[in-house]
Symmetry: C2
Subunit: 338 residues, 2 copies
């Protein structure tokens, strides 16, 4: 049916070992024989069988990406960054959603190991220590886009969530907000913890601060809506919401709009992540932008570098998040005209 290396060898009148050498440009091959072999390859339209190759070299040029939910724009752009790079290197990317996967997660990793997946990228999210350990034991190289407590990771890519969040809260203070609430994300996720901590550090000594200005938003639109309702109920006079992520901010915006509370005049809103959606809402949302596509790309880049050279180029990559001010916090500042 499809040609094999044996067919090529026969046609070129050489051994399969020699064909293999030219295929992998490895070891010496006479110029003449090389020509003959290349012709045969062309003639037969031969393409090496990657599965057979994988069986002997134990590599598949395949990496897996675990995300909590590909449906979240943050993760889909991350995925795109990773996939684009992987593809450019001849790698193939396996998508794994692990939200509420429960026991499946272990199985998934086992399956990947059985398939000789070369490496795994683990995006931020509930990678708890146990899971991490399990994956670690599988010996599959991984890069992690989140801090995993009490565990040495070979390669992490970390965005400075703390500083990013601090910038956001400071900004809100600077524009004159006097009662800033925070919708926090799942506390098993380190980024959510950092953002919360930055908020607390920034406001704990301010006169108006009270812990009831905190509400959980589960990093989702719905969660953001619930949290906002609760916050407004407890603090009708709040004048700003620092949302744990953009989805929360969008939820907040929605509730505020429904209640007829004007943004930013009455309540300013700031998000985190910098997903594209924040540019299309009305008003557009001020947010702390992460280099999301870049993160995905870097993750793939470092992982593939490891796969090909057996060492990580960088052990820890730190990136900054930058505050992008938009309409949702244009409260007191007015520089429309000069």
């Amino acid at each position: 049916m499809t040609a094999t290396i044996r067919d090529v060898a026969k046609l070129a009148e050489v051994s399969i070992a020699t064909v293999s050498r030219v295929l992998n440009s490895k070891g010496y091959v006479g110029l003449e024989t090389k020509k003959k072999i290349e012709e045969a390859i062309k003639l037969l339209n031969y393409e090496p069988n990657e599965v057979a190759r994988s069986l002997t070299v134990k590599k598949t040029k395949t990496v897996a990406l675990f995300v909590p939910d590909i449906t979240n724009p943050f993760f889909s752009t991350l995925a795109k960054g990773a996939e684009d790079y992987a593809n450019s290197k001849g790698f193939t990317l396996i998508l794994c959603n692990y939200e509420k996967m429960g026991g499946r997660k272990k199985l998934y990793v086992d399956l990947l190991k059985q398939k000789y997946v070369d490496g795994i990228i683990f995006a931020a999210g509930a990678l708890n220590p146990e899971d991490a350990l399990k994956i670690r034991q599988s010996k599959i190289p991984m890069v992690v886009l989140d801090r995993v407590p009490e565990m040495e990771i070979e390669c992490e890519i970390l965005v400075d969530n703390y500083e990013g969040a601090k910038k956001a809260v400071k900004h809100l203070v600077e524009i004159g907000c006097k009662k800033i609430a925070h919708i926090y994300g799942p506390q098993e996720i380190s980024t959510a913890r950092q953002r919360l901590r930055a908020y607390e550090d920034a406001v704990k000594n301010l006169p108006w601060y009270t812990p009831s200005l905190l509400a959980p938003g589960n990093f989702s639109i719905e969660g953001g809506m619930e949290a906002t309702k609760k916050l407004l109920h407890d603090h009708p006079d709040l004048d700003a919401i620092f949302a744990g992520n953009d989805m929360n901010a969008i939820g907040a915006l929605k509730v505020l709009y429904r209640k007829g509370i004007r943004v930013p005049e009455k309540v300013a809103v700031c998000g985190f992540d910098g997903i594209k959606l924040t540019e299309i809402t009305t008003p557009e949302i001020t947010t702390v932008v992460q280099p999301t596509y870049e993160i995905g790309k870097l993750a793939a880049e470092n992982l593939i570098h490891y796969i090909e050279h057996s060492f990580f180029r960088e052990k820890l990559i730190k990136l900054d998040a930058t505050l992008v001010v938009r309409e949702s916090t244009q409260k007191l500042e007015r520089n429309d005209e000069t």
Copy 2:
């Protein structure tokens, strides 16, 4: 290192052939021997090597999903539907973005073939006849979520875009719109063509209709913005926009808002697809909802059924799109109170 079938055989004091039989629950195996083997497997923590297995059975329990852009919410929820199902069947899903892939597309398919990918799902988008043919020649089974001109596809999943679009335009007419523009999508995509045709059929005999009420929007937010600007320029009196997809509608909304044109009072807006975003904008967008997650799931389901049984359960699956009326077209109807 890791245990192989040989280790299991040795420990259980049988041949590897017998181990293979219990592994695949295929062929007769004595109860006693089976027990012994199962114990050995447990003891050694043995897990079969899928790559070796693939080499002989020529199947990998892997499917690929081609999408133009995973970053578009429509495709990410489609991907989730496909991945969830694939995973539930022990399959693994490879993500392929093919937007502007150019020559890469062929290579990608070749690569997948070399890797023994069992099947491909091709989402709507620029699957032009040439590409389709190339893929077809690869003999990899595929399900296509789009109409491919002049080509027999083994399994297609089609949403009735024509009827869906018709419902949308009729709705706009019914609420009293007298000058309805349409932002159309890339005409190499059949769904875009169908939506355009439905619009034309619905309005071509109405007195106000003129072809300049059409503008291309490229199915993107930016494209929707451009188109809207152009339409407003040419027709300051237009009172409704039927956008080719939700991204276009979001773009339209944005431009209208910036220009201070109220939606829906002055201009009604209707989208297509039913991505989640349409629920979070202000106003919420009326749209023609496709069963997106379901489409992804059905695609995976039919493809995997084919892979496992060598025939497609259904050759053609037709689904309906339903109009969901929301704020952006609440122009004349008012049923807040009874």
